[in-house]
């Protein structure tokens, strides 16, 4: 009896980008689901809230993300209702311990050559401070003030590193993330202009409705409009 092994991702989501700001954590991801090079679905949320207190977002194989979310939600519910401690006090799942739990799960799966093909971003706000971490399909963990998965690691991280300050306001953090998402839309073949923002603060999680990025100034430079394929040009780029 042979077991299944995930060999390559089929239905995928692209980058998730996040940063810590003054008072919480802000994540952004587009809502595009790709099937190879085809854009399959335009309104698929890739960030979910667990217990309304922890944000989970992922890039990579969507079915694996759905499985992870299902397992995590079950775990959170079990801890809240059936654990011995829950009889006596409210001790909800913390973002950091969820992050570590995912690390263990991802590492175990990869050791059996059957990974969850995702980069998972975990964000929360507890004990008066923000938590932002990422777990990849090999079980590698990073806890940072700025994270980006997929193409975002190449295109968004430099922008985040340059502009990041520990005392960013929510508006500044949002503007920075939108700028990153715009660059990703321009330069990643698997990205779309419809994005979602998600934040977690002391008051819990909020995930925005999907909305379109503003591209009004992105296509009207004269060098873009000028045709280069004509006889007086260089023969086309």
């Amino acid at each position: 009896m042979s077991k299944q092994h995930t060999t390559r991702p089929i239905t995928t989501g692209t980058s998730v980008v996040g940063l810590v700001y003054d008072g919480g954590v802000l994540l952004a991801a587009d809502t595009l689901l790709s099937y190879g090079s085809m854009a399959k679905s335009f309104n698929t949320p890739r960030m979910v809230s667990i217990d309304e207190r922890i944000l989970l977002g992922a890039s990579g194989e969507y079915s694996d993300f759905q499985e992870v979310v299902q397992k995590v939600k079950a775990l959170a519910l079990e801890q809240k209702t059936q654990s011995m401690e829950s009889l006596y006090e409210d001790r909800p799942l913390s973002a950091k311990s969820l992050w570590n739990y995912l690390r263990a799960v991802m590492y175990q799966k990869r050791s059996k050559f059957n990974p969850f093909w995702n980069d998972v971003v975990v964000a929360g706000y507890e004990n008066g401070s923000s938590f932002l971490g990422v777990v990849d399909k090999l079980g590698t963990t990073l806890q940072e003030n700025c994270v980006a998965t997929g193409f975002g690691a190449y295109l968004a991280m430099p922008l985040l590193r340059e502009q990041y300050r520990p005392d960013l306001s929510e508006g500044e953090a949002r503007a920075l993330l939108e700028d990153c998402m715009k660059v990703l839309f321009y330069r990643d073949c698997r990205a779309s202009a419809r994005i979602q923002l998600a934040k977690v603060t002391a008051d819990g999680c909020i995930i925005s409705e999907p909305y379109e990025l503003d591209q009004s100034t992105g296509w009207n430079a004269p060098s873009m409009i000028r045709p280069v394929g004509d006889l007086d040009g260089d023969g086309g780029w």
């Binding site: 092994h5 060999t7 390559r8 991702p9 595009l32 790709s34 190879g36 090079s37 085809m38 854009a39 335009f42 309104n43 050559f113 990974p115 193409f151 321009y186 330069r187 990643d188 073949c189 698997r190 779309s192 202009a193 419809r194 379109e212 591209q215 009004s216 992105g218 296509w219 009207n220 060098s223 873009m224 409009i225 045709p227 280069v228 394929g229 004509d230 006889l231 040009g233 023969g235 086309g236 780029w237």
Partner: protein, 226 residues
């Protein structure tokens, strides 16, 4: 190969060499009353990175003949350079403008005779005095087909049905242009290798007339609203 090596090698189903740039693309040419409209998206990609988001895939081969490029950017640029050069020479020797048929068959020769080295799918379309507007598609192996209208590139699969349904011969040039942009924007919406802006050229006895549709003004998309 061990399973672990498989894990890192999943996305190599392109036939391009490592690092080679491709116009994974949507191109189309629609004959209309008095001429032809050619249309293309503007995304040039290396794998999943957009190397140029405002490329010009509509290359002028002669005053009234254009070529829409898809496949390897390097290969198609080299081919169009050659055909442009040969057509220029042909004009000097014969004293008249080349026909679209001549341009198409010149292109076909080059692709066919180098078929193992090239990856180029082109549409040659234009206007000439003999036949008016005509459209020829040349596939990867070097087959040259004259068609009532043509689509090409990775995005074309998404709009072949749409155009089969909505294309009519002898359309008004403005309507043909609008249909070309509509089809192109639908392909750009669904194909990850197409995107950016839409460039069109209308070719008729008055010459070439270019048009530019910015990414924010697309008739449909860039994402569907559902």
């Amino acid at each position: 190969m061990t399973d672990l090596q498989h894990l890192s090698r999943y996305e190599n189903d392109h036939h391009l060499k490592d690092g080679e740039v491709s116009t994974g693309t949507t191109i189309l040419a629609l004959p209309c009353k008095g001429g032809v409209v050619v249309c293309a998206d503007s995304r040039t990609s290396t794998g999943t990175y957009v190397a140029n988001r405002v490329s010009d895939k509509l290359v002028q081969l002669s005053e009234y003949i254009y070529c829409c490029r898809s496949g390897s950017a390097a290969d198609t640029q080299a081919l169009t350079d050659y055909v442009h050069y040969f057509l220029n020479q042909w004009s000097l020797e014969t004293g008249r403008e080349p026909t679209v048929k001549t341009a198409a068959h010149l292109m076909r020769r080059l692709i066919y005779q180098n078929k193992d080295a090239l990856q180029a799918g082109v549409i040659v379309a234009g206007w000439d005095e003999v036949h008016g507007g005509s459209v020829y598609t040349i596939t990867l192996g070097g087959s040259c087909l004259q068609l009532p209208f043509a689509t090409g590139g990775s995005g074309s699969i998404f709009i072949q049905g749409l155009l089969d349904s909505e294309y009519k011969p002898d359309m008004d040039p403005a309507a043909a242009r609008a249909l070309a942009k509509k089809a192109c924007s639908h392909a750009m919406c669904r194909d990850g290798s197409s995107g950016g802006v839409i460039r069109t050229v209308l070719l008729n006895k008055d010459g070439a007339n270019r048009d530019y549709t910015a990414g924010v003004d697309l008739p449909f998309g860039p994402s569907a609203v559902w």
